[in-house]
């Protein structure tokens, strides 16, 4: 089945220790998104790639970076995680901005 896969599902890191979350998709969609969702809140868009074009939200902290080496993969790098970065990180894809399909998420804990 075509799908969006996120690894790992649970990630524990230490305060200030860089961490990378990964997302892959078999849908061959050209748009990939990263969202942050904190407890009892709605998902918040961090950035997205439309094909190879990177689009950063104005209020996304510089601490968050992303890479998309090819159509299928996208990475979220958190350079120096703080306690406030503990959240669920959701990857999603779409074809040209249509229906969005989400992965299962990575729950990040910062100690």
């Amino acid at each position: 089945d075509a799908m969006v896969i996120q690894n790992p599902r649970y990630q524990v890191t230490q305060f200030g220790k860089p961490v990378t979350l990964s997302c892959s998709q078999t849908l061959n969609h050209n748009v990939m998104y990263w969202y942050q969702q904190k407890s009892s809140q709605a998902p918040k868009l961090l950035f997205h790639y439309y094909d190879k074009d990177f689009n950063n939200e104005a209020d996304t902290p510089d601490n968050f970076q992303s890479r998309r080496p090819n159509t299928s993969f996208c990475f979220l790098d958190i350079r120096s995680p703080g306690l406030g970065d503990a959240a669920m990180y959701l990857c999603a894809t779409s074809r040209d901005g249509g229906t969005e399909f989400f992965g299962p998420g990575t729950r990040l804990t910062v100690l």
Binding site: V31, Y33, Q37, A42, P43, K44, L45, H48, Y50, N55, E57, M88, L90, A92, S94, D96, G97, G98, T99, E100, F101, F102, P104, G105, R107
Partner: protein, 111 residues
Amino acid sequence: GIQVEQSPPDLILQEGANSTLRCNFSDSVNNLQWFHQNPWGQLINLFYIPSGTKQNGRLSATTVATERYSLLYISSSQTTDSGVYFCAVEPPTGTASKLTFGTGTRLQVTL
């Protein structure tokens, strides 16, 4: 930016009951999607519905774009319908498919 408000914030139903969830948005939109987030955090797209009415099994949705609202109907609710329902909208300006999520409706279906 665009404001998206959902009501009610919380809803408890007995299995078999019907319900209507509402999404109000503050500006015109290119795109509106309804999602269900299950208790494990997975977001599932229910409808892509910038205007008009769609039905999928026990669920249907109607968007009246000119009046800036959308409704999600759940009929004969089941315990598996529990979770949080989000509507998300894409304003007409900027790059494609930058969804802004609403505040969510938390639904609990009891036996």
